[in-house]
């Protein structure tokens, strides 16, 4: 009796699984086709173009291509460092401090996500360009590139660290303080280790974003080869001048860099989930 009940149960589960599988076959087909046509096929075309003709490495090591990649890489790393500090600080103020207008400030943080990049670039020209009302003119310098990248990546660290700080157990900090730990010690021993995974995630997302940034940089940087031309602007110039092979090559390097960062992040998060961290 018990065995036949179990058999019925097994059969029922099998039927349900089979039904579920055939239910999801059509959506699976639609999703795969859409993703392939919109995303995968075009990206494959870039890779194919970069590696046909056998000039991949000579294109990458073309002096102007290399210079633009180096600028993007160095600026993105610098921006990542500033974001780690400023982002954590802002998240801290938003969680632990209380002041008039806090909800407004909190909403403002997402503005760089909502604002078109070309508008972001124009706002920087308006304040820090040739007609600056505060007499700070960074147009056509590497500082302009840096500033533009800081603008567009501002929300990443704030928005990843903020929820972790909210969850943070204040009793631990109080215990540390009562045992004689100073502010810096409490931060280094208690707070920093807790927010570290979120901080890494925010910094990495910001880095992946800045490495290929185009719209916010293009107006204020002046796009001077070897000086202020970032990688994406270089690719754009190559497309305009008809050097598609060169454009595809630099694109593949950009793709590889940002994909590597995101994949590493994905792996890190999976490990964190498994270890319950």
């Amino acid at each position: 009796m018990a065995t036949s009940a179990a058999a019925i149960q097994v059969e029922r589960v099998a039927v349900r699984n089979k039904a579920a599988r055939s239910d999801s076959l059509l959506p699976a087909g639609i999703v795969t086709t859409f993703l392939s046509v919109i995303v995968l096929l075009p990206l494959a075309a870039v890779a194919a173009r970069a590696f046909t003709g056998g000039s991949f490495w000579s294109e990458v090591f073309a002096a102007d291509a290399l210079a633009s990649l180096r600028l993007s890489l160095i600026a993105s790393l610098g921006v990542a460092v500033v974001n780690a500090v400023a982002g954590t600080l802002i998240a801290w103020v938003l969680v632990r401090d209380d002041f008039w207008g806090k909800p407004f400030l909190n909403a403002l943080i997402d503005l760089p996500f909502a604002l078109p990049t070309i508008v972001a670039g124009l706002t920087l020209v308006a304040l820090y360009g040739p007609h600056s009302p505060v007499h700070i003119n960074v147009a056509y310098t590497q500082a302009a590139v840096f500033l533009a990248l800081l603008f567009v990546t501002l929300p990443f660290v704030v928005r990843s660290v903020q929820p972790v700080l909210m969850e943070l157990d204040r009793e631990m900090e109080e215990a540390a303080a009562s045992l004689g730990a100073g502010i810096l010690q409490t931060y280094a021993r208690i707070i920093f280790p807790t927010i570290l995974p979120a901080l890494i995630s925010g910094v990495a997302l910001g880095f992946a974003r800045s490495i290929g940034e185009f719209g916010s940089v293009v107006l204020i940087s002046g796009n001077i080869p070897f000086k202020t031309e970032v990688a994406a602007v270089h690719v754009f110039g190559q497309i305009e001048s008809g050097d598609i092979a060169g454009a595809a090559t630099v694109s593949v390097v950009l793709l590889a860099l940002s994909c590597a960062v995101l994949l590493a992040l994905n792996a890190l998060q999976r490990r964190g989930l498994r270890h319950g961290g």
Binding site: S24, T32, F113, L115, G215
Partner: protein, 262 residues
């Protein structure tokens, strides 16, 4: 206490210097020659056409990504197939791709010398330097938002109610419309808001595939760039203000929705 105030004002100063003051400046610059001049600039035929084209493209791209996003999220959460794991990584790809690279990729597939170029040319179908290419670029860059917003909501609601509906005789379609969709509606809406903001504001990818014909293939972001290059700064600032207002509307809806979800 001193430390607290120091932190607070450091954060204020940073946000003011990087974000608030620059954005405030474009409003000031737009209206410094009076409201009338601003109104004249924004009602230029090219500006109005650019706004209309921007809305049209978003109007096509956003529904496509919404349907895709909901389907894809359902697959990611419910499917036990191994390919869901791969799909999970692939869906985020657009976030990792520079907009200019997106444009180049489309040129390499649909451009004159692209994979489908000769065939498209033979059938007199224009994709690059025309509306279809601009839509494809916009769909590409705004693809992951709905998926990413709906997946956590689906995880949280679980499958119980849907299975109950199925047990009571509902077809998969009925269960989806009557049970699943209502339970994820705020997640979907939030994703749609983000998708729309990105679609309205896309510049790099569209710039590569648009061909910059004023009054023809010029979206509002391209118009800003065009006016700036032509030293018509008022035109650039005023169009930017229109885009900035759309961004503020996005922020406002995000906040309203966040409160609704909570």
């Amino acid at each position: 206490m001193v430390a607290k105030l120091a932190l607070r004002y450091t954060a204020f100063a940073y946000l003011a210097a990087i974000l608030a003051l620059p954005v405030g400046m474009i409003f000031y610059r737009s209206f410094e020659h009076g409201v009338f001049a601003a109104w004249q600039a924004v009602t230029q035929p090219d500006a109005l056409h650019a706004l209309w084209l921007t809305l049209l493209i978003a109007g096509i791209a956003v529904p496509m990504n919404t349907v895709f996003g909901v389907l894809c999220a359902l697959l990611l959460v419910r499917s036990k197939m191994r390919f869901a794991r791969i799909l999970d990584v692939l869906v985020d790809l657009p976030f990792a791709v520079s907009p200019v690279v997106v444009g180049l990729a489309l040129v390499l597939v649909y451009g004159r010398q692209g994979w489908f170029g000769p065939w498209l040319l033979a059938h007199d179908i224009r994709v690059i330097f025309a509306l279809p290419g601009m839509v494809l670029a916009t769909v590409f860059v705004s693809l992951p938002f709905v998926v990413r917003e709906v997946v956590p909501v689906l995880r949280e609601t679980g499958e119980d109610q849907e299975q109950a509906a199925r047990t009571l005789g509902a077809s998969p379609w009925q269960a989806f419309w009557r049970v699943t969709l209502p339970s994820i509606r705020w997640g979907v809406t939030y994703g749609v808001v983000l998708t729309t903001a990105r679609a309205l504001g896309e510049f790099g990818a569209v710039s590569v595939v648009a061909g910059h014909l004023a009054g023809v293939t010029q979206t509002l972001t391209l118009y800003v760039d065009d006016r700036f290059e032509a030293f018509d700064l008022t035109g650039a600032y005023v169009a930017s203000v229109v885009l900035a207002l759309l961004a503020f509307a996005t922020l406002f809806s995000m906040n309203a929705l966040a409160r609704k979800e909570a």
